[in-house]
């Protein structure tokens, strides 16, 4: 697909909605600016109501931003209706035309573009091959399984060779296993075609598996944007830390600083971790500890008491109390390790480098 790749840029975009019950106006998206690089796969991730779908629909043209400008490549597209935009969307409900068969569904966009018949046939068959639906072109859409319908929707969006591919929670109607298969498929196809893709989801593992970059949204604003690793290891606030993966928060005032390392007082116990710039003595800070980064031992670390100990197969799940703070952790490969029981007092041990100070 020899097409110039285009990125997407949002400049100070806001969208105001009216609450249908109270009639009050609120920002669904507020003063959001984004830059999505050509050919990259970017996920908009966030809880429901965070504005991610609204953002996507504004890029597609179904909603008009109340403030700001959207660019496709270098071209402002605010004024363009969805049918004039060089974007193609894959809908949550697939939105296949129920009165057309698979071939006609995929060919629909090409027919509208008045592509010659022979070429339509050739391009549709090529795309159906790419999504592994060869031989299904004569089927009606209701004779397909959910996963197959999803592939048709993807093929239909790909065949018109748009500059940007938009996904609106495309896998949420599939069962868990199929979801995993399909997301690998989507990633494979996107990389094969090399197209810019913007993907909306509330499923963090989907976002991790698919994306070059993740944009976490909360209450209409971007909370953090970065690679999956950046977001997981260096979340900017508790919301992001909690939303991506499991997180424990240890809180306490800073008592001292030694070069890069700072010492905090967690529930009365000193804890030395790698600090960041601008930290002040006496102020309260939060340390993010991932459940897989800690382990239980008889000495070292922080004193704690086990309140839950549960075998999960690949790991032993512990809940321990450090003073009044609950910490959840996962002891992987527990077979040959000492298993602590509820009521045991022991020590919570972790590498100071594997935690992150907010």
């Amino acid at each position: 697909m020899a097409k110039v790749k285009k990125g997407v840029r949002l400049e100070h975009i806001s969208k105001i909605y009216q609450d249908p019950k109270t009639g009050k106006e609120f920002y669904a998206v507020k003063d959001t600016s984004l830059e999505i690089a050509p050919g990259s796969f970017v996920t908009l991730l966030g809880p429901s109501g965070c504005g991610k779908t609204t953002t996507l629909r504004m890029i597609a043209g179904f909603e008009s931003p109340d403030e700001g400008e959207i660019y496709l490549g270098d071209e402002p597209i605010n004024e363009l209706t969805p049918n004039k935009r060089d974007t193609a969307m894959v809908f949550q409900s697939y939105a296949l035309l129920p009165h057309y068969n698979v071939f006609d569904n995929v060919a629909y966009g090409l027919k509208l573009r008045k592509v010659p018949k022979d070429e339509i046939k050739e391009r549709v068959m090529k795309i159906l091959d790419l999504v592994e639906l060869t031989g299904m072109e004569g089927r009606m859409t209701n004779q397909l399984s959910g996963g197959q319908q999803q592939r048709v929707a993807l093929a239909r969006a790909l065949v018109i060779e748009p500059s940007v591919l938009l996904f609106d929670e495309p896998l949420s109607n599939l069962d868990a296993k199929l979801r995993v298969t399909m997301r690998t498929e989507i990633r494979r196809i996107q990389q094969e075609v090399g197209i810019t893709a913007i993907y909306v989801t509330h499923d963090q593992s989907e976002a991790m598996a698919l994306s070059d970059n993740i944009i976490i949204m909360s209450k209409g604003v971007v909370a953090q944007m970065g690679t999956p690793q950046e977001i997981y290891y260096h979340p900017v606030n508790e919301f992001v830390a909690d939303f991506i993966g499991e997180a424990n928060f240890l809180k306490g005032p800073m008592t001292g600083r030694d070069g890069k390392n700072v010492t905090l007082s967690i529930e009365g116990n000193p804890l030395t971790v790698e600090g960041r710039d601008g930290m002040e003595k006496g102020k309260e800070y939060t340390v993010v500890l991932r459940p897989e980064a800690a382990t239980l031992a008889d000495e070292g670390g922080l004193p704690c008491k086990v309140v839950l100990s549960c075998f999960m197969g690949s790991y032993q799940n512990y809940h321990v109390m450090v003073g009044d703070t609950l910490v959840k952790l996962e002891e992987h490969n527990p077979k040959n390790k000492h298993i602590y029981q509820v009521g045991d007092t022991c020590r919570l041990v972790f590498d100071p480098k594997s935690v992150h100070v907010l």
Binding site: A60, G61, F62, T81, P82, N83, K84, R85, T87, A88, M89, F91, Q92, S93, A95, L96, L97, P98, H99, Y108, G109, L112, R113, M140, T141, N142, A153, R156, I160
Partner: protein, 552 residues
């Protein structure tokens, strides 16, 4: 709680301020006495002139509303909850279908023929010679039998939406069948029942043909209006009365539309999560089934009475040999061909106009956002609440001398065009309503996806929306046709001698007592409407989209 306290404090503070309180009381008295009171008196005065017609109408409306919704509920309950055999199920289907295809006053005809002075049942089977079917009870029985299938269909839909787990939970906790009905099913159905009651109430008080035929000297508003115009030539009086009738229906319509419909939707949001366990218990099943089958059979018998009545040589005196003379007289002596041609052509022209208009309106209402949308939706739905007689009087007053007496559009008065317009206006709300519900079922993203693929609004409508609502469009077309060809209430006020309409003919012959001729006309009319519906069903079965869309 906090707000209640604030309000209480505000009240206390106000009471502590006697000047303020006095001012408010004086103001309220002044406004009520000198603004509201004179207006109310005017309103009451306008009613007083025909209190009898008003009380008559309301009495019939209430009773018919209650009886119809109760019988409708019983039928719906039996269909949804009780295991029935195929024959009974078939009876139910026929009963729900009959009022759709038959002209509105067929039951009055058969009531007179079965139970009247020369009625087969009263006179020949029971030997009663002076049975009087005319009057209050005649209207009530006939209207109830005509309208209860509407309630039955409405309530059936609602009952199906009750999640069976709710009732199973109640039974699980120890409630008996009757208790479950009284404590769970009925409360959930109450708004729906109220809705059914009001719909029938509105239909009943707007009904013109039945009170006309079987009312005797029992005048309702609709018939009085008609007699004022055709008999007393008192157009202004008729108009005043029309306003009263309109006020009543509009008030009822407002309650039904904005209060009860919302409530019904609120209590019955859930979809039935799985199939209901049908009642097999013989002590419940047998009596309910027998009662409903008998009533259904009775209703069907009343309809069958019409074609048979047209075959007897002299109704009430000579039954054999059966004869076709009334049918041939319809065509040889009573301009049958012209009547059928006029009715058929006018309805045939208005049906596609109605269907197209209602599809466009519903498309705009459901899929588009624009300023005048509320106006379009409200006015096209308003026509549903307006009784045909009222509309007829309005057209006489509004167009007989042109719009605002200017002579503008006066040309259409008395022509076929105004009849077509009336047909369109009368069927528009039904078409629009079914169009709206069909369009709402199409997932918004299907159209969006086409739009996203590069189709403009017109292309989206032609290649996606229209094919998907083909069935609804077709049934709208046929419904409009059937409604038009069986319409009478507004038409009878506007029709001129240059047009002969079947329904008007039936009414005329029935008035004169020529029941056999009326029956012959009615039979042919039913055949036309029934064939139209059959054709539609055949068409949908073979070319419809429903098969492909409903399965997924």
């Amino acid at each position: 709680m906090a707000r209640g306290q604030g309000a209480a404090l505000d009240r206390k503070k106000l009471m502590a301020d006697p000047i303020m309180v006095t001012t408010i009381v004086v103001l309220i008295t002044f406004l009520t006495l000198f603004i509201l009171y004179p207006l109310a008196i005017l309103l009451v005065d306008s009613f007083v002139g025909f209190t009898r017609a008003i009380t008559n109408t309301l009495k019939v409306g209430f009773l018919v509303g209650i009886l119809s919704s109760l019988i409708g509920l019983l039928f719906a309950y039996v269909e949804v909850y009780v295991r029935m055999n195929k024959v009974v199920g078939g009876l139910f289907k026929v009963v729900s279908m009959l009022p759709v295809v038959s002209p509105p006053f067929v039951l009055s005809l058969s009531m007179i023929m079965l139970f009247g002075k020369a009625g087969i049942i009263t006179r020949f089977l029971l030997g009663i010679y002076d049975n009087n079917v005319y009057g209050f009870w005649g209207i009530v029985i006939v209207q109830t039998l005509t309208f209860f299938p509407v309630c039955y269909m409405m309530l059936k839909g609602l009952l199906k939406n009750i999640d069976p787990s709710l009732e199973e939970a109640a039974r699980d906790m120890g409630a008996g069948r009757w208790k479950v009905f009284a404590d769970v099913t009925l409360p959930l159905m109450l708004p729906g029942l109220g809705n059914a009651f009001l719909v029938t109430f509105i239909e009943s008080i707007a009904d013109f043909a039945n009170p006309m035929l079987i009312g005797g000297s029992y005048d309702t508003l609709a018939t009085t209006i008609y007699l004022q115009i055709t008999g007393a030539y008192d157009k202004a009086g008729a108009a005043a009365m029309a306003v009263v009738l309109l006020c009543i229906t509009l008030a009822m319509f407002a309650v039904q539309k904005y209060y009860l419909e919302a409530k019904t939707a609120a209590t019955l949001t859930g979809k039935a999560s799985r199939a209901r366990m049908l009642i097999e218990d013989r002590s419940v099943k047998v009596p309910l089934t027998i009662f409903c089958s008998l009533s259904a059979a009775f209703v069907i018998l009343m309809y069958i009475c019409v074609p048979i009545g047209a075959l007897f040589p002299t109704w009430g005196y000579k039954f054999f040999p059966l004869t076709g003379k009334w049918f041939s007289q319809v065509f040889t002596r009573y301009h049958g061909f012209k009547a059928f041609k006029d009715s058929f052509v006018l309805s045939f022209i208005s049906a596609p106009i109605t269907a197209l208009l209602s599809m466009i309106i519903s498309y705009l209402v459901v899929k588009r956002k624009f300023k005048a949308k509320g106006f379009i939706e409200a006015v096209s739905m308003l026509a549903m609440a307006v009784p045909g007689t009222v509309l007829g009087v309005g057209y006489i007053r509004g167009f007989s001398q042109g719009v605002f007496h200017t002579g503008f559009l006066q040309g259409i008065y008395g022509t076929g065009l105004i009849l077509i317009i009336v047909f369109v206006v009368r069927s528009l709300p039904t078409g629009t309503r079914s169009g709206i519900s069909a369009l709402r079922q199409i997932d918004k993203s299907i159209e969006e996806s086409a739009y996203d693929m590069g189709a403009d609004s017109f292309k989206v409508f032609m290649t996606v929306t229209l094919p998907l609502i083909k069935d609804s469009f077709l049934s709208g077309l046929v419904t409009a046709f059937v409604r038009s060809i069986t319409a009478i209430s507004a038409i009878i006020l506007l029709v001129t001698p240059s047009y002969l309409l079947i329904t008007v003919q039936i009414n005329e012959f029935a008035e004169k007592g020529s029941y056999s001729l009326a029956c012959a006309f009615a039979t042919i009319l039913i055949i036309i409407t029934y064939s139209a519906v059959l054709l539609m069903n055949l068409f949908i079965k073979h070319f419809g989209t429903s098969k492909t869309t409903k399965e997924d």
